[in-house]
Symmetry: C2
DNA sequence: CTGTTAGCGCCTTCAG
DNA sequence: CTGAAGGCGCTAACAG
């Protein structure tokens, strides 16, 4: 195994100084054509590649953006990741992906690692429990990352205010829920069950809020018994829907906190002999790719995940001069109408 | 904005030398307890973090593993990524994710970037068109990465032979297809349509091979007219199934090259008025999470994606001494029986 | 246009 | 147990 060549070896072989090699490598510097050729040939012959670390040791930054999420398997995060990766590539950056499993300790570790790496952007994505502890943590991260020359980006979660030193990219979460609920209301439904996510989680709470404002705007009262909080995966949707049916809850439509919940709820409804959409209408949230395969295809709310990821990187990597580092962007959502909603039986 | 502190600042504050700070930081070196305390306090007060690049400049490696895939959005790759990320974290490594969009040029770029990064493992995952060009490319990567001190891992794709300097982690792809086809045969089906992926792609070809061997083992002839090659996403499945139905193809069961194809094929069948599984049985491949939401739930082949990713990292990061760097692991697959197969109508 | 000379921040001998 | 000194590979002044 040959030891990997350094710029010095290239210089020797090309018969020039290290500085010259460095110059032709970086490109943006006048070098005689003939010299350039010689260097390039030496590079090729030695199969030389720069050492990114040595290079990064100089400038403050390191050409990598980091994405920090709770999990990578869910379609929601996978698509944010896709957007981040795309735009990172476009911005000539590498993309680091880390998971926290929603564990603050792990999150702290990860952010420290990112500081060590001098990543030029750290994107924290996904809903959170927005308590004092959270705010304190974020403030700490912002400080540490800024010192390390990185930009902090809050993605798919609420802004921490215009004074907080972070870029925020969120989506019309309340608005989407409002629209989804209104979609059911205008179809004629009045008793709408909401199977939400865990109470306190921003993503879920905002969707509940949209549900409430829509009902209120329609002159309907809010019935707390019709709002269920809990784990928002398929199983959570299944179990809670089954329990609600067993408890004799009265409703003609369901607003599921996300498509996973919708999937489970639909299974439970079917088991109980309720047909969709003849007996019960249902709307989901997120528009996961498989929503189209549901039975029937699920009407749901489209969230621009890739766009969220892309925008996060775009804002974070634009030249620092013309950016405040506190931009705040809100991306739109909209209802995708498929086959799971119908007017209630008279 | 404070300039980030260096080890020198910590040393000054703690009233010791840089060497001492370095020692307490790395941990594995005798340092007087009192001194250690002082240093640690200085670290805390300054909120100091090491510079990963300066550190990497020394050792050959850099504590990152890189995953290179065609896309990140498909559940198949997302789950491999999850496995890689998990095990990387466990092995105290960072996880870099890059996509190539199946473009060899882009792939070349990415591998070069990984060499620059001195990643200690580069995992190329997913099926490929295994031609001479591919083999030559891989040989080139292997060479370059070895020189850079990295390990090359081929994941979820065929080995390039025991002499090829790479770790390989694949799964029983032919076997899974064989089992899936046999599952249909034993249910009584004789005319089984195979909607495969693109011809030449290893993943798809192996599945076709399993289909063939199963039929042959059952004493059935292979009817080329029943094998369709093409894009293996939902749309590809939909369009081809629709065309096949229109062309009057005769079959009682379908083996879809993957679950996406199965999803599209099911939609086309339903549109044509064929009930599943009463009129037509269908088996997919991959067992994507949403397979359970299909109508009916899809019988399919489980591929251990997380395990593939985890194993790749595990093998690549085990201490070099006790590893040849040419390990070859084959992980199993199995049929997951759900509701999409039934005996053919008599 | 090109070469020389300092570091970047850290680790690692080698001496105390 | 601790400190001083050299160098990892590269870039960025500063001279020629």
């Amino acid at each position: 195994m040959n030891k990997r060549p350094s710029i010095k070896d290239v210089a020797a072989r090309a018969g020039v100084s290290m500085a010259t090699v460095s110059r032709v490598l970086s490109g943006d510097y006048p070098v005689a054509d003939e010299t350039r050729q010689r260097v390039q040939r030496a590079v090729r012959e030695l199969d030389y590649v720069v050492n990114a670390h040595a290079r990064a040791l100089h400038g403050a930054t390191s050409k990598v953006v980091a994405l920090v999420v709770a999990e990578v398997t869910t379609p929601f995060f996978a698509r944010i990741a896709a957007g981040v990766e795309q735009q990172a590539t476009e911005a000539n950056r590498l993309c680091l992906v880390c998971t926290t499993h929603a564990d603050p300790d792990r999150e702290l570790d990860v952010v420290r690692l990112m500081r060590e790496q001098r990543a030029d952007a750290v994107i924290l994505a996904g809903g959170v429990v927005e308590n004092d502890d959270y705010r304190a943590r974020m403030r700490q991260y912002a400080q540490g990352l800024e010192d390390a020359g990185s930009r902090l980006v809050l993605c798919a979660r609420p802004s921490l205010g215009p004074d907080f030193p972070a870029i925020t990219v969120e989506y019309e979460n309340v608005g989407g829920a409002h629209a989804a609920t209104t979609h059911l209301l205008t179809a004629g439904h009045r008793d709408i069950l909401m199977i939400a996510g865990p109470a306190g989680l921003t993503t879920s709470d905002q969707r509940v809020e949209g549900y409430r404002t829509a009902l209120t705007a329609y002159g309907r009262p809010i019935d707390p018994a019709l709002i269920s909080h809990g784990p928002w995966d398929r199983e959570g949707g299944y179990l809670r829907m089954r329990a609600l049916i067993a408890a004799g809850a009265r409703f003609t439509a369901v607003f599921a906190g996300n498509d996973g919940v919708a999937s489970g709820a639909m299974a439970a409804l079917r088991e109980a002999g309720r047909r969709i959409p003849e007996d019960v209408s249902i709307v989901g949230y997120d528009d996961v790719p498989s929503a189209v395969d549901f039975n029937p295809p699920l009407t749901t709310v489209r969230v621009p995940q890739e766009e969220l990821g892309r925008t996060a990187v775009k804002l974070a990597t634009q030249r620092s001069g013309e950016a405040s580092g506190r931009e705040h962007v809100m991306l739109g959502t909209h209802v995708v109408v498929r086959g799971s909603v119908r007017a209630p039986a008279p």
